[in-house]
Amino acid sequence: MRVLAIESSCDETALAVISGSGSAWLLEKNAVFSQIAIHQKFGGVVPEVAARKHAETIIPLLTETLGENKLSEIDYLAVTAGPGLITSLLLGVTAAKTLAYASQKPLLPVNHMEGHIYSNWLSNEDLRKNDKIYFPSLALVVSGGHTELVLMKGHGDYQLLGTTLDDAVGEAFDKVAKILNLGYPGGPIVSKLALEGDENFYDLPRPMLNSGDYNFSFSGLKTAVLYTLEKEKNITQVAVKNMCASFQAVAVEILVKKTIKASKEFQVRSVLLAGGVAANQKLKTDLKAVCEKNNLPFFFPELKYTGDNAAMIAAAAYYKLQASSNEALVNKNIFSLSVKSNWQIFNK
């Protein structure tokens, strides 16, 4: 089986091809065109610019990825149908629908967050070969738009245990970066400065840490950063570094503690980290340490698969297509696919 996946949910246009059978599969192609450099000068994503760039890059990228043969050796197409920016998603979904219908190939819509979870299958051979012994697994999905604890009982079988009640943790990093005038995207900059700061310098609140459930809240933490800094007369470089370190330590502590608590209650056999914030070194190190202490196998994606990419969408599609009743759309039904900008993985 050979699957071509298209991903355009935010500011990357990406294509990937996976082929194989059963647990023996190979990522043949993986191409990403990133718009971060373009959006950096605006300090955020500009939807119209993003959509226009997707339109410009998607066809050349397709030719580059598949050569002149294009779709002749592809069995299935897959596309990110949500969640994400509507205008960006539309480009990828429209391209995929057109290609699938014109070449008479089945098309499978894939959830972007499910893709992030499958970045672990791309990165860990052990998981790829022996995944049965690692289910049920607990996935901590963290990105600019999501903070979720998901119980994964098997391929495609998810239960939401908790979610943020307001801002995502990646958004909190971005907003703290904006408060500190550090640029976009904020996460990597805050983490870098945190390395040189004292994480115990500022005493920030730990929202929802003892809420008794698996939900999160990061809006108030961002506000606490703002108020704490307002009390300082002049904000030095050292203060900025200390704030980055203190904020990051609190955010990571909340994520790690809730993850471990859930892993015990649901007696999972592994923990997976997924999403853009999986690139955060402190989160990886701290979560790994506490998983080891609890004898829990811990998987995280390689850095190159933490950002948005189509390889993870192809991997998720590959496993979904192995299921006895796959949900790929054929012929005229292809046109019934619409963009689902708020799609949750545990909802069909």
Partner: protein
Amino acid sequence: MQEFISHNLADTEKIAQALLSSLAARLDSAKRGKSILALSGNLGAGKTTFVKFLAKALGLEENITSPTFVLLKAYDIDFADFKKFIHVDCYRLDAKEDLADIGLQDYVADASNLVLIEWADKINNLPQQKVLNIKIEILGETSRRFIIS
């Protein structure tokens, strides 16, 4: 223009409730035909909190999470003539954008949508006759001024 002072969360909830009921009853001419709420206030002013109270008063049981990353989230409601609550956050936009560019035109055109927009000053061509502005000013740690115009 109306002004309300909130000293605590309970006050803020009452302001959200009063705003919605006057919007629904179309009591005064200032609120007739208004279906866009343009919410402004600095980071930390309490926009998230206010939106949560609005959602509660609208009868929404779902939790309202930040639409910053995806720009907008839509929720089904049944409140007065409104059938959908559209929560938009333009925080990530830095350039002046048009409604159509961010996919908002169709939502705004439909009068059965109650559209709440945070950081609305980043959009160029909002139909001003439909807009009710809500500004939150920070007075102290927990007190806020709401200016509705």
